[in-house]
Amino acid sequence: MDVSLTDEQRAWQLKARKFAQEELRPISLQRDQVVDSRETFDWEIIKKGSKLGFRTAVVPKEWGGHGIDLVTQALVMTELAKGDSAMAKTFSQCWKWSHLIEARCTPDQKERFVKPFVADDTYLLGYAGTEPSAGSDHRLPPKDDLKAGWKLKAERKGDEWILNGEKCFIANASVAKLFFVGTRTNSNASQREGTTVFLVPIDTPGLRVGRVSNKSGWRFYQNGELIFENARVPHANLVGEVNRGTYLRGTSHPFGDFELGANALGICDAAVEMAMQHVQTRWQDAKYFIDNQTIQLKLSEMRMLTEALRSFVMRVAAEGFVMRDAAEGDAKTGHYASFLQNFGADVVQRVTVLNLDIHGGAGVMTIDAGAEKLVRDAVIWTHNVGDSVQRMRAIRQNIGF
């Protein structure tokens, strides 16, 4: 396995590092501490990042994007997340759905949606899946309950589909211009067999944004409600086939897992850097913090876990989502990105808490605000896709159910 970088990969990495250090990091804490969850977002940073190519990085070159490969995606995401995890996620959320457009949309849909997406620095993408009563039921639909899953109803009326219902916790809900929306099109069939996905622009009549979630971490990232009241969507916006909605995301799902692994790595890099800086400059009781054995052991664990995560991220990036199993004589053995996501969730929590711990001490009544933010951002990992649900999905896919 060769992990040496090409000049182009290295150039993207350095460009992302510069942007993260010079633009994201300086506003990271400031945006995080805005009290109103609708006001944490900053369009200026999105525009700046978009002009550097981060928003459209994975759109193929023939459509006006940059077509960066998975290794480059991992490098860029890690660097951006080191500056600010939630801002990095806002860009990579667009990559996730660019992958889906590329894989599943018709030439006409690409023409209608990819062109404006590429041309407009403020055009963001989203996917509306989760509903109030469909959290893990949407991630891991039960086989024995036909009622479980999406309730948002889509009914065909001539050349249009009429959508009624509600989505919640939707990423980029209050800022995106285009959503993939999962709907129920057959109430007598399961989530697997009775759902359909549509492309829905935000200016669709009958669609509005509800509340923006007030999260403890990832505060810049806008999760919110989308309310559909007789929203009218043209039949031409149907993605794939009717009642085959859950089969669409075969290609995009591993990306979401991979993306979270790489983003977690960026947070870990930030935590390690912060801790290294602190222990080598902080002087107490006639010695630097780093001269304490207990500090060395904590730092050692932080670095060990971070480097293990980096190896995992880069292996998935280098080999693609279908990995070769060296133990089985190079047989392809399904995708490991879900395991990467779960490993990242464990590592990012442990590493950020160790960093906070290193910033503590005896008689401490204040704590480093940056170290505390990283811990709050890391907590998101066990909530955004459902931690145990994600772990069960990983093993079920691996076994092949």
Partner: protein, 417 residues
């Protein structure tokens, strides 16, 4: 004998406080309007009501007008209060513990006659002990003396008529913003160093030359690295400034020059199991919320409590909670029965520190696991779960953080202290 049968009085205390928390505290503290903002001002009205129930004077002896609660009873009460609001519990625990130390142990009869009636009569009369000075933290000392109180730079200079003039600054003093009587550690002999020459003076809040600022109102200072920092404690804390502050001669606590440090240290030790009990209260609130939700929420065709994944999380939570509970009660009981250590029924290791380190670690895990049961709702600021996570995290890294507390345990194991 270590007996886990609670007395009728302890059971009644628990029921009364639990009912108070359910009716009066939770509707306010768990309301989204209070959960969402970053700053959560101390609920003074609730503190008043708690005082009228006798919780401010909980540990003060019955002879002096308190409830005479021992350490175990105090832990039971503080756990219940903290299940409603950690700041209320921390504030009351501080005043109640100090009341027992100051009025029952440290004051002369004359001092008691002067301060006790005001203290008993006024529901808003809280107490503070000002020792900590505004230096950075004490680091990670192991097998070496802890500077701490030895670094007392606040001075008291004797005047011709015997009065003292105090100058200096104390920082992050628990309860200072609401305290009406502050016991302050001062150096009375500039020639000595260490703990010699340090005394404790009783200073009423309205003494000219004494000013107190709530740390929430002080422009947020940068941390030791010059980076932005957050306040990281429960309850309320303030900076106490003495500027030519004149204190009468007879306000010395104990014999002049003979610092009641031992007594203060004892009172701190009494406080440790109560802090652990407060953290247990947070853990229990998170656990109860998770069980309620798991019985209500349907996914995968059944209530999520019926899924192995959630059931196992809840089992893990309750195992940790029960074991921590046991250790906290044992540590409190040990303080109430010093003979048990003397007669070697109990280990002479610092059981209180052991209990708190274990509790702080597992309650942090408990709150994270409980929040996980809520899926995305578990990270929302208008829900209680992230407050529980945040509150339990503060215990891990503030005051004597767990890492440093482990040094203290190791030093005891080595026979260093």
């Amino acid at each position: 004998m270590y007996d886990l049968n609670l007395t009728a009085e302890q059971l009644e205390f628990r029921e009364t406080v639990r009912d108070f928390v359910k009716r009066e505290i939770k509707p306010i503290t768990l309301h989204p309007d209070r959960l969402q903002p970053f700053e959560k001002p101390l609920l003074l009205d609730i503190l008043d009501k708690a005082s009228r129930m006798g919780l401010r004077t909980l540990a003060l002896s019955q002879e002096l007008g308190g409830a005479g609660a021992d350490n175990l009873t105090s832990c039971i009460v503080m756990e219940e209060l903290a299940a409603g609001d950690v700041d209320i519990a921390t504030t009351l625990a501080q005043t109640s513990t100090l009341a027992q130390f100051l009025f029952d142990q440290a004051m002369t009869p004359e001092q008691r006659a002067r301060f006790l009636p005001q203290f008993l009569a006024d529901d808003r009369y809280h107490l503070a002990f000002a020792a900590h000075e505004p230096d950075p933290d004490l680091g990670w000392k192991y097998h070496r003396p802890v500077a701490g109180e030895a670094d007392c730079r606040t001075t008291a200079v004797r005047q011709g008529n015997g009065d003292w003039v105090v100058n200096g600054v104390k920082a992050f003093i628990a309860n200072a913003p609401i305290a009406k009587l502050i016991a302050v550690q001062v150096r009375i002999d500039p020639k000595t160093s260490g703990t010699g020459g340090v005394s404790t003076l009783l200073v009423p809040r309205d003494t000219p030359g004494l000013s107190v600022r709530d740390h929430h109102d002080i422009a947020r200072q940068a941390g030791p690295d010059g980076r932005p920092s957050l306040l990281w404690y429960h309850g309320t804390r303030g900076e106490v400034v003495f500027k030519d502050c004149r204190v009468p001669a007879d306000h010395v606590l104990g014999k002049e020059g003979e610092n009641r440090l031992t007594g203060a240290a004892q009172s701190v030790r009494r406080g440790i199991p109560q802090l652990a009990a407060i953290d247990l209260g947070i853990g229990r609130a998170a656990y109860e919320a998770a069980v309620d939700y798991a019985k209500l929420r349907v996914q995968g065709g059944r209530h999520i409590i019926e899924h192995q994944a959630i059931g196992t999380i809840l089992a893990g939570i309750v195992i940790k909670l029960e074991v921590a509970h046991n250790m906290v009660w044992k540590a409190a009981w040990a303080l109430d029965h010093p003979d048990a250590v003397a007669k070697r029924s109990l280990s002479d290791l610092p059981l209180q520190t052991i209990a708190s380190v274990f509790t702080f670690e597992v309650v942090h895990e408990i709150t994270l696991d409980a929040a996980e049961c809520f899926g995305a709702m578990g990270v929302m600021r208008d829900m209680p779960l992230q407050k529980y996570v945040h509150d339990s995290r503060i215990f891990l890294h503030s005051g004597d953080s767990n890492s440093v507390a482990k040094f203290r345990i190791a030093e005891a194991v080595a026979g260093f202290r």
